[in-house]
Amino acid sequence: MVKNTFIFVLLVGFVFLFFNLFADFTGNTELNKLAGHYAESGHEEVGAANLVTAVVVTYRGLDTLGEVTILFLSAAIVSFLLKIETSSTDDRKLRTTSEILDTASKILVPVIFIFGIYVFINGHLTPGGGFQGGAIIASGLVLILLAKPLRQISQKLISIVESISGLSFVLLGVAGILFAAGFLDNKILSLGEFGTIFSAGLIPIIYIFVGLKVGAELSSIITNLQENQNEA
């Protein structure tokens, strides 16, 4: 009873607090200085049609590097905690996969992979980018594992893709210091014609590496968990 009264008082307090915030709220009629600069001169400075990509990859590229590093760390911790027995014989008793799931995975998995690749290659033109594309590729991998739970996905391939793309991402960033204005600057290549696929300088190339890296990291988390299912 005391507990319920306490929760009720807390809720009333929150309602009071948020109603005051809501009552005073008036939306911004104009962008603040920094956002205005991005919105107005982002097209000339970066050349990406999708302004979110311009901010994520170029203006705030260092933050993206940090996010990718955090994702790498969590994938590494998952694979450290779930040690894989190399000689594990899979003797799980599994229900046979239904015909619908089996056929759908055969047809849909290539389509999902192509869509993921499309999302990160077109990250500078349409919504989406490296993170989204990588996550879509990893969800294609989930569909494979749902249809065939005993299938082995090569950890070696995943780690090679992950290391090469991570290294290339950092090297491209350093090349920005040497050949352009600063770390992860995209003007190493020419900006090209606005709105075409070969535009925005280095952004498509960086996003391809980010997409491969994110896809590989998420896939390694999924496959690690999947390979550990039969251990107690």
Partner: protein, 81 residues
Amino acid sequence: MINLLIAIVIGILILIMAIVAIHNKNLVVGIIAAGAVSLFASILYLLLAAPDVAMTEAAIGSGLSTIIFFYVLNKIKKQNG
């Protein structure tokens, strides 16, 4: 106006799914409800003109994290006998 109404309906659905996720005794239902929260949230992001965030939320929030929860739940069930 119609967008605002849809947004309010989706917000209420998110709240219902969140309450189901917390209070349902069956963990499988709870996991699916948590995935549905993410799915509705991604629709809400799309209505609020943030398609980049919506794609991330749909793929990671409702796709990958749901399947990771299922793997972990399966492992915990095995360990507990």
